[in-house]
């Protein structure tokens, strides 16, 4: 398996452009999808956003200078596209936080995963009530186990800001639990 750098150079030199791009997609598609899906819940929306992210990558990859890691750039685009989508949903009034709990339960009935307990539903609600940026930072840190430097580059903040976001998220989860 070629490294990201090798695949990007092949792409930029138009050497088997589609093949090198496909390899890049296959390397990173799962993480990109997970990052988006944790925020938007619906598979079709996540699929749409993921495709938009990769189309942007295809259009801009020729100009990518490899000053940062490819994955950081990729996740940064995914982060921005997801936030844009959520903002658009809010403007259109299609996002309904009250239906999210119902969606969560419906989802569990459609998949092979075991049904959620009450505490698991509370965890879902607790994370959902966090501001979007804090949700992102928390999930990137906890589930993807990324360091704060990478999280800061992805979310366009400082390392200190990213750390603060994570700890504030944990604090708000604690408050949420106390109040429910």
């Amino acid at each position: 398996m070629h490294s990201d750098q090798e695949l990007i150079i092949q792409f930029q030199q138009s050497i088997q452009r589609e093949q090198s791009f496909t390899q890049l997609v296959k390397k990173h598609q799962v993480k990109v999808y997970h990052q988006i899906k944790r925020m938007v819940l619906d598979h079709d929306d996540a699929d749409d956003i993921a495709q938009m992210v990769w189309i942007k990558i295809w259009n801009k990859l020729d100009g990518f200078k490899m000053e940062s890691e490819f994955s950081t750039w990729l996740f940064r685009i995914a982060y921005n596209e997801t936030l844009n989508f959520l903002a658009k949903q809010k403007r259109q009034g299609t996002s309904n936080s009250n239906s999210d709990l119902l969606d969560y339960e419906n989802l569990s009935s459609q998949t092979d995963a075991p049904k959620s307990s009450e505490i698991q539903i509370k965890l879902d609600q607790g994370i959902k009530q966090l501001p979007e940026k804090q949700q992102f930072v928390f999930m990137l840190r906890y589930f993807e186990e990324l360091n704060y430097e990478k999280i800061a580059n992805i979310t366009g903040t400082t390392v200190g800001g990213a750390k603060a976001n994570y700890h504030q998220a944990v604090k708000k989860l604690e408050e949420f639990l106390k109040n429910t």
């Binding site: 589609e18 791009f21 496909t22 997609v25 296959k26 598609q29 799962v30 999808y33 997970h34 899906k37 944790r38 819940l41 598979h43 699929d47 993921a50 495709q51 990769w54 189309i55 295809w58 020729d62 969560y104 989802l107 569990s108 998949t111 995963a113 075991p114 959620s116 307990s117 505490i119 698991q120 509370k122 965890l123 879902d124 607790g126 994370i127 928390f138 840190r141 906890y142 589930f143 186990e145 360091n147 994570y166 700890h167 944990v170 989860l173 604690e174 639990l177």
Partner: protein, 143 residues
């Protein structure tokens, strides 16, 4: 050493969250949230490339030299306009000077003679006006 410190910090952060919810709860949350339909990832790249090939617009690549060329044209247009506008009055005044210089003395005299009666008429009108103004001023003054 740095990686070790990072791992220690990561574990601390995760522990802080796991004091609120169990590790299994987080794992369950992640599983539910990230689940994808069967074979989704197997076909994703093909579907993506298909969409990219259908959406391919006609591409105009602007290289560094292309950008520099456009900037140069822009500067040229601005500079030309500036130079053109700055030389315009001089040309006009030169033209005016030339045209006066081109007229002979005979022509000038004949023009003046032809228009003398107008000049006289105007003078007469003006002189009448002046007299009436003076008389009104005298009337206003009190001896």
């Amino acid at each position: 050493m740095e990686t070790n410190n990072e791992n220690i910090e990561l574990n601390k952060d995760k522990l802080a969250a796991e004091q609120l919810f169990a590790k299994e709860d987080f794992a369950h949350f992640n599983l539910k949230k990230t689940e994808a339909p069967k074979d989704y990832f197997d076909t994703f790249s093909d579907k993506l490339l298909d969409r990219i090939s259908k959406n391919k617009p006609s591409v105009f690549y602007l290289t560094t030299y292309g950008k520099m060329a456009i900037a140069a044209i822009f500067i040229f247009v601005i500079a030309s306009t500036f130079i053109f506008l700055n030389t315009q009055p001089k040309i006009k005044s030169e033209l005016a000077v030339i045209s006066i210089q081109d007229i002979s003395n005979e022509e000038i005299e004949s023009y003046v003679n032809a228009n003398e009666w107008i000049a006289e008429m105007d003078w007469q009108t003006e002189s009448v006006k002046l007299e009436s103004e003076n008389s009104s001023i005298l009337k206003d003054t009190i001896d």
